[in-house]
């Protein structure tokens, strides 16, 4: 029986492909939800999934195999090359907050639209022309 960590190191390339693949899949699923779904709440969910995909992609870009946290501590000054890139993580934090605000706003607009139209189907809400 192999330990889990041994499996991890044996297939580490596969895992990094899996992370990138998942991120891109999430973005595509989100785009599908936004562009093709008719229900307003499903569209909002699609937006949210798309945001998650982007965030995962950002973190994956900064990731280093066997990397350490980007903190200088006594005895580990030489590990700069092994530290994961902190910039994408900082960006992701900001992007998460923005995504949260947009989702909250979208849901509140959906509630108002539902109150006025008594439906959440986007095809039936068309008092304005494009």
């Amino acid at each position: 029986m192999m330990e889990f960590s041994e499996i991890f190191f044996k297939y580490k390339d596969l895992i990094s492909i899996a992370v990138y693949g998942t991120a891109i899949m999430l973005i595509i699923i989100g785009l599908y939800g936004v562009l093709l779904k008719k229900h307003l709440v499903k569209i909002a969910i699609g937006l949210s999934i798309m945001d998650s995909g982007i965030n995962l992609l950002f973190v994956a870009v900064g990731y280093i195999q066997n990397g350490t946290a980007p903190i200088f501590s006594p005895g580990h000054e030489g590990d700069v090359a092994k530290m994961v890139d902190p910039v994408p993580q900082a960006l992701v934090l900001t992007a998460i907050v923005i995504g949260f605000a947009v989702t909250a706003l979208a849901l509140s607009l959906i509630i108002r639209l539902y109150k006025h139209h008594h439906t959440a189907n986007i095809d039936q809400i068309n008092s304005l022309k494009w």
């Binding site: 936004v34 992609l57 108002r112």
Partner: protein
């Protein structure tokens, strides 16, 4: 106290949060504070403009980390000019809307002012930031406040327009993040000057991919065809002073972001031709749609898209004179379109609905506003005694210098379309018979002062364009001189 570029962003942002507290102490604070802050921004401009013109560029380091490690603010003559005009026009719109906000119910004034201040702070941030991710954050601030303001009136149409805007805005932010991600993985930096420096080493395929993401995302913000479907809905559903801010501030910030990214960051061949073609299509489609509109604010919104198309064409031509004309047109559009929305909204108050039919013979009831609206309409089409003439004139001369005869013919033909619907509207105001009885809303004194000030500006600049052409030449120079931008920040 030393005045620095960061005050442009900090003052309105602080005010936005202070309003909520101050309004609890003194009821009128919510209405007074934005005016004070925007006036302070004008003072900041007056102090900084001479310095920028003398030194060529001010780079402000935030939190003690020098560029490219920290986030920096860059005030080039181009961005300083835009920041100044945004502050001044923001102040004029505040003055205009002062009485307008009295009509809102007590609690709502506060929210309106908070959102408006955040929107102006975000736009100023987009204009003066030197960091790519920072630009994304400011674009999102503008976006979220703009969605909220579009839905400010609690009707169903406002919510619908706002939801459309939010959907397309979120797609824009997704693409913008993807573009930033590609740029970051390729260059390892987010500082715009350093990206520009390292861009020649990036493989061509990556460059093109990132550029496409940026063009989609910033094209949405800059109201470029075909991603500008949100604009007419948002413009027509938002409160009137907000429509003026959309036209005068938000669209300026969007075009600035697009131009900064395409001109400074990327060095891809063919981008100029792309801007010309997309600008022309934007202009043509928008002006033709404007003719078909029965709603005054939608008509003005489509006209706004058309002007933005012309700005993109002018930037696409790319010579010094064309960029000069483009910046001039951005200023003219900001002033004149804001004025059209301001005076137009008094027509809307005075008629039952927002349709053009309500304008019939309105000059008898609102002589002053009608005169202002007509002057602004002539100015934006480009009649000679007004400032709109010069910007179009310089763009046409620049196109002529490059032998783009078809482009000149196209622009002039679209101008005729523009002339048709503006003259039709002015004719309605002056020559049609008014058959319906209406309630009267006369313009308030502060609105009259604000509108007269802006009309005066249009006429004075129209007669003496040399008053500002010096600044404009330096702004155009600074945009085109990429090497100086890189060297100045990274020195």
């Amino acid at each position: 106290m030393v005045i620095s570029p960061v005050h442009y962003i900090v003052a309105p942002l602080l005010a936005a949060f202070a309003i909520a507290l101050l309004a609890k102490i003194y009821k009128n604070a919510a209405r007074l504070v934005p005016g004070i802050v925007l006036f302070y921004n004008i003072i900041v401009s007056l102090v900084l403009m001479p310095q920028v013109l003398e030194k060529g560029m001010i780079s402000e380091v935030i939190a003690g980390w020098k560029a490219p490690w920290g986030i920096n603010l860059v005030l080039t003559p181009f961005s300083a000019f835009l920041a100044t005009s945004v502050s001044v026009i923001g102040f004029a719109i505040w003055l205009y809307g002062y009485k307008f906000k009295v009509r809102l119910k007590g609690g709502e004034v506060k929210y309106y002012e908070i959102l408006q201040m955040m929107m102006i702070a975000g736009s100023l941030g987009v204009i003066i930031t030197g960091d790519l991710f920072n630009m994304f954050v400011f674009i999102e601030i503008v976006g979220i406040t703009a969605y909220s303001l579009t839905a400010f009136y609690r009707g169903r149409d406002g919510a619908e327009a706002s939801f459309k805007y939010l959907l397309i805005g979120s797609l824009a932010s997704t693409f913008l993040l993807l573009g930033i991600l590609i740029i970051y993985t390729q260059t390892g930096t987010l500082n715009m000057a350093q990206i520009a420096e390292r861009m020649p080493m990036v493989p061509q395929t990556m460059k093109i991919t990132a550029l496409i993401f940026f063009l989609i995302a910033l094209g949405i913000e800059a109201e470029m065809f075909p991603m500008n479907g949100w604009a007419p809905d948002a413009y027509s559903q938002a409160p009137s002073p907000t429509s003026a801010v959309f036209a005068a501030v938000v669209s300026v910030a969007g075009v600035y972001a697009l131009i900064r990214v395409t001109f400074t960051l990327f060095d891809v061949e063919g981008i100029h031709q792309y801007l010309i073609v997309m600008g022309f299509v934007t202009m043509l489609v928008a002006e033709i749609s404007a003719v078909a509109q029965a709603n005054l604010k939608r008509m003005l919104a489509y006209s706004s898209l058309g002007q933005m198309g012309l700005v993109l064409i002018a930037f696409g031509i790319g010579s010094h004179l064309a960029v000069f004309g483009a910046i001039f047109l951005m200023l003219n559009h900001a002033v004149i379109k804001a004025l059209l929305f301001m005076s137009g909204s008094y027509f809307i108050y005075n008629s039952e609905d927002k349709r053009l039919v309500g304008l019939n013979g309105i000059h008898k009831r609102l002589p002053f506003v009608s005169a202002i609206f007509s002057i602004a309409a002539f100015a934006i089409v480009g009649f000679p005694p007004f400032s709109g003439f010069w910007s179009k004139f310089y763009i046409l001369i620049a196109a002529g210098d490059k032998n783009m005869i078809i482009l000149i013919i196209g622009i002039l033909m679209v101008t005729i379309i523009e002339l048709v619907y503006y003259l039709r509207t002015v004719a309605r105001i002056y020559f049609y018979k008014d058959e319906v009885e209406h309630t009267e809303h006369r313009p308030s004194i502060n609105a009259i002062i604000s509108m007269s000030f802006m009309t005066l500006f249009i006429i004075v600049i129209g007669v003496y364009p040399d008053l500002i052409s010096g600044y404009l030449h330096q702004a155009a120079d600074s945009l085109l001189d990429k090497a100086n931008y890189i060297q100045h920040i990274l020195k």
